[in-house]
Amino acid sequence: MKFGNLIIAGLVTGSIYAVFAVCIAVWYRVANILNLAVGDFAMIGALGVDNLVREKHWSLPAAIAATLAAAAGTAYVYDRIVLRLAQDGRRRQEGIVIIFFFTFALSFFIDGVAKVLFGTNVHAAPALWAGNSLTFLSGLHLERAGLLVLACAVASGLLFTAYIRYTLSGKAMEACGENHLGARIVGIDPRRYRRIIFVMTAVLAAVFGILESPITGYTFNSGATISVTGFIAAAYGGFQKPGRAVAAGIGIGILEALLGGYVSSQYGQTLLYAVLALVVLVRPGAMGLQPAAGG
């Protein structure tokens, strides 16, 4: 039963990594920028809702709405002011500066503001589905929050797939990822898609922060770990293949749970990064920073 429970725990964590990996991979395809602040938006979701409910005594729905609006607003303003100047202006930034630097800076900025607003203690948004963990097959346990995380991860995946397959806007987004010049020729504005996806992924990350925080708890700097794990999972998909990023995210989650359960609960995450580093050493091709669409 221990193995089954570890797999369930790993699936929950892995589904979150998978969602963040897809957020990173999809945005990289379109914008040629790696979103290293995606975990910080999750932190905004968790700590924002907690703060508004616990300290300001807002109702939970109002707190969730306000926090998601704050995450969307932060992403929108950052794109309009910073990314627009960096990528679309006369002094357009190229290479590693634009790929890493601007979202890395955003991550530090969000952490700094969060430290001032929320302090350094561990907090969690109120559970959306309170109660004891669910037990099935006489021994397997699943937290209610974990079930919500899994359900939302599957729903997000299905919605995203439907968006790509059944809407012209979704296909236009794919076209931006395939060929910027080819996209512009038919009237698609890749900058608009860069903005839309950045805002959408910020909101999605905040939603998962709200859902997951009752399980793990969040501090002002929890976002960096999530971003790094999402980044690694996206890297295993070469930053180009969201399907592979999902598989890698789930694989990392399960591996993390098994290492924590069977080897060391204290050093589970450290061992995880060591194993991932070993995989890269043995099979360097598994992780590749392929250039995004050019033109």
Binding site: L168, K171, A175, E178, V186, G187
Partner: protein, 221 residues
């Protein structure tokens, strides 16, 4: 021929890449329903004229489409106003199917996938090359060069353009495929669209184009 109400009026257009001037002070007009070949040796600025017109590279000077002044560097504006460019090297979306590539041509006039799929423009584009019918579900990147060029032309036509501009449509294609491509371009022109073809081989282009604009060393002669 161009009259008082031309489809395209270009006045003093220059295109430069850094310090290198590719097109200098180009002035010409193209009438509604006209068919024009832009000819000249390779590397003399023919493609840069089209790229500048379409807004894909920075340009100076004045460009008007149906008497409306075009903002420089705004390719989206040009495509919505009815100028479609089929660029050199096709610029397809290799991992999307041929059908999706063509469908995205409709993006310049609709955001509705249902409207796009049911449109006459999409049907015309798909029917332009019957030989593509069995390859519509295939990834565009796996098609032959000739088939990719057909998809690129069909994608351009799905935008229901008033001005159809195509850059070196037969580059690297077998003679038989080039013949099919030119048949299709002739059909597009016969439907009443203004046609601009950039072509290194003027003989081939002048089979379907009524006049030519010659470019030498970046200057329209």
């Amino acid at each position: 021929m161009a009259g008082d109400d031309p489809a395209l009026r270009v006045t003093g257009m220059s295109v430069a890449y850094g310090n290198v001037v590719a097109v200098h002070d180009a002035t010409f007009t193209v009438g509604k329903g006209d068919s024009v070949a832009i000819v000249g040796p390779n590397g003399n600025g023919k493609s840069s004229i089209l790229m500048g017109l379409a807004g894909l590279v920075p340009r100076s000077g004045r460009v008007e489409i149906f008497n409306a002044p075009a903002p420089a560097g705004d390719v989206m504006w040009m495509s919505r106003r009815g100028l479609t460019l089929v660029p050199e090297r096709r610029q397809l979306y290799p991992q999307l199917s041929a059908a999706d590539n063509i469908l995205l041509g409709c993006y310049s006039w609709t955001r509705s996938i249902r409207k796009a799929r049911r449109s006459a423009a999409f049907a015309r584009a798909v029917e332009l090359f019957p030989e593509l019918r069995s390859h519509l579900d295939q990834q565009a990147g796996t098609l032959s060069g000739g088939e990719q060029q057909m998809v690129a032309i069909a994608r351009g036509l799905a935008g229901d353009p008033k001005i159809f501009a195509v850059d070196e449509p037969c580059l690297g294609l077998a003679e038989s495929v080039s013949g099919r491509v030119y048949e299709a371009l002739a059909r597009i022109h016969e439907d009443g669209r203004t046609l601009i073809v950039v072509e290194e081989a003027p003989k081939r282009a002048l089979r379907i184009c009524a006049r030519q604009i010659e470019v030498r060393n970046g200057v329209v002669v």
